[in-house]
Structures are given as structure tokens and as C-alpha cells.
């Protein structure tokens, strides 16, 4: 593949600016390849995160031409048809430097949403026998492949408007545990997600589902939580 890409990369912290680079086009080039080229060949001071390069670790998410994407699995040919790329740090998260954001709030919200599994059995007991076809197990299975990349969080307007909102990833995690029959923290978890910053704040814009690189559906998880919270409220269990 011939030619060059015109790449604008965010440099600095919250008050930074875009800096332009020219990067050679390569066949099957990913956006992460472009960022890596800039850092290794053009400007060694560029900060960014990556680890696995194969869409498993969830660390390389960035805003690419205005959309949150996993850069290791995003081919340049798919997103830069005009030969231009604008790469910025993930939206809705504080910028540490360049393309690196502070994920502390994002993961703290998983804990606030009751994202920790609390077993009802001890390790002395036998394995729990759960049929894969069980409806609750299927609901849990639908959401457990989350890699914690923060793309849904960056795509969510409610997070932007209401910074305390727990966000799609944390609520998706809570929904998988609500459906995990081995978990014993259900009531406390429902109370955690029923507050002002919980599932009821979701406007069902479905940007999380639209952008999730793993094709998960946090909107469906949040809708499930809304139903569970409504039933619990009607039964006086909140």
C-alpha cells in the first residue's frame, strides 16, 4: 500500500491540543500501528496504552475520528477512507497525558454497582451445577465477555451529562451477577443500582451497544436491571 496518512494526535493533558504527523500507509495497518509508528519513529514522548494487540486486554481504546474504538482491531482502511485520522483520548475520562486516560473512576464505579461476586458456597462444597440453557445463565452469559475497555463509557452521553452515573460497563457487570445464581449479594446490589446514579438514569440511547467492540448489549442489561428494580420496589424489597 502506498501513500501517507495525515494523523492528528492529542498531545498534553486536559488542556492540550492536536499535533499533526505524516505516517506511511501499510497493508492491513491498524490504528494502534499508526500510534505506535508515531511514538517509535516520530515522537518518543507520546504516551498511550496497549498490551495484547488482539482485542483481549481492553487497554488500547481511543477516540478515532470522533468515535470510541479499540485501536488494535480497527483497520485504518475502515476508518480513514479520506486518508485522515484524528486520534484523541477516550471521552468522559480525565486525561493523564496524550492518549492515556485515568480509568480510576471507571473501575471504582464497577465496585459501587456491586460488581464483586459474593459466593453463597464455600470452597469445601462441590461445584454448582448450572445448566447452560438456564434462562438466568443465558442472561449472564450475554454480558460476561466484557473486556473493560471503557468504549461504552466514552460513548455514553448520560455519563457526560451526569458524571456520577455508574455507566454501561458497571451496570452490565451488575446484571451478570444479578443473574448468577451462585451469588449472594443480590439485594444489596439492586439497592446499589437503584439510586440516582444507577440504571434508572439511563436514557436508552443505546450508544453503548452501538459501539461495544465485543458486540455486547449493555442497554439490554440496564433494561433488565430496571425491571428487576421495579419488581423489587413493588415487593418492598429495596
Amino acid at each position: 500500500m502506498q501513500g501517507t496518512l495525515s494523523v492528528s494526535v492529542w498531545r498534553g493533558g486536559e488542556a492540550g491540543s492536536f499535533q499533526s504527523y505524516e505516517v506511511p500507509r501499510r497493508g492491513n495497518q491498524t490504528v494502534l500501528d499508526v500510534v505506535t509508528y508515531v511514538q517509535r519513529k516520530l515522537d518518543g514522548s507520546l504516551s498511550y496504552r496497549f498490551a495484547c494487540r488482539v482485542g483481549m486486554c481492553g487497554s488500547c481504546a481511543m477516540m478515532v475520528n470522533g468515535r470510541p474504538r479499540w485501536t488494535c482491531r480497527t483497520r485504518v482502511s475502515r476508518v480513514a477512507s479520506s486518508g485522515k485520522l484524528t486520534i484523541a483520548p477516550l471521552r468522559n475520562l480525565p486525561v493523564i497525558k496524550d492518549l492515556t486516560v485515568d480509568m480510576t473512576d471507571f473501575f471504582d464505579k464497577w465496585a459501587k454497582a456491586g460488581g464483586v461476586f459474593k459466593p453463597t458456597a464455600t470452597r469445601a462444597e462441590d461445584f454448582a451445577a448450572i445448566r447452560p440453557t438456564d434462562s438466568k445463565r443465558r442472561h449472564a452469559d450475554a454480558g460476561i465477555e466484557c473486556i473493560g475497555c471503557g468504549i461504552c463509557y466514552a460513548a455514553c452521553d448520560v455519563v457526560a451529562w451526569k458524571p456520577g452515573y455508574l455507566g454501561p460497563a458497571a451496570l452490565n457487570r451488575a446484571w451478570t451477577l444479578v443473574n448468577d445464581t451462585r451469588d449472594g449479594n443480590g439485594a444489596a446490589r439492586l439497592r446499589a443500582v437503584a439510586g440516582d446514579d444507577g440504571c434508572l438514569a439511563c436514557h436508552s440511547q443505546q450508544g453503548c451497544q452501538e459501539h461495544c467492540p465485543k458486540h455486547l448489549n449493555p442497554t439490554a442489561a440496564i433494561a433488565g436491571l430496571k425491571r428487576a428494580v421495579a419488581v423489587a420496589a413493588l415487593k418492598g424489597r429495596l
Partner: protein, 110 residues
């Protein structure tokens, strides 16, 4: 942030139609008040409202009303019924019904 997907637009139309209807409500009550105050004033308003551009504006109002109604029903279905993967189809149906309602009003008005 790019938001060019149907469910975001459905959200925007639902909220903006709600704002539009809220702004229209005082006008609606004003017209009702005219009916109480006297026949002549209401009659002059009705004559004024028969102008073609007012009819088009009324068709717009019908669209807003239908969009808010169908959008609301869609959201209730999304939140209280088991999840269905054809959410974009529901957006298309609610949009189609809303345009249809506005168009039907316009056809009847002329």
C-alpha cells in the same frame, strides 16, 4: 462524539417533541379560554387557523404528538418487556406511524 445511529435520533426526537408539546400547551389552553370568553373571538381565531400555513403547522404538531406517544410506548416496551434485538425496527415503526399520522391530518385538512 459522533451519534449517527437510529436509537440516538429516536431519543432526540422523543425529547424535542416533548419540549415542543410543552411549549404548545399554553397556546392550546389560550384557545380553550377563548371559547369560554365568547363566541366571536373563538370564531375569528378559527377563521385565522384555517389558513394553509397554519394547517401545515398543525400537521407538524400532530407529528410531534404521535412521535412523543409512539416513542414513549417504544421506551416502555424496551424497559418493561423482555429485551428484543429489533430495537431499530421499533424506531422505524414509531417514526413511520408518526409521519403517517401527520400526513393523514394534512390530507384531511385540504
Amino acid at each position: 462524539m459522533r451519534r449517527d445511529h437510529p436509537t440516538w435520533w429516536a431519543f432526540a426526537v422523543h425529547r424535542l417533541s416533548g419540549v415542543g408539546l410543552a411549549l404548545f400547551l399554553p397556546v392550546h389552553f389560550y384557545v380553550l379560554a377563548l371559547a369560554i370568553e365568547g363566541e366571536a373571538r373563538l370564531e375569528s381565531f378559527l377563521v385565522w387557523s384555517s389558513q394553509p400555513w397554519v394547517k401545515v403547522a398543525e400537521a407538524g404538531l400532530i407529528f410531534l404528538l404521535a412521535a412523543h406517544l409512539t416513542g414513549g410506548v417504544r421506551l416502555l416496551a424496551l424497559e418493561f418487556l423482555p429485551w428484543r434485538d429489533w430495537q431499530k425496527t421499533l424506531v422505524a415503526v414509531s417514526g413511520g406511524l408518526s409521519f403517517g399520522a401527520g400526513l393523514l391530518f394534512l390530507v384531511n385538512a385540504y
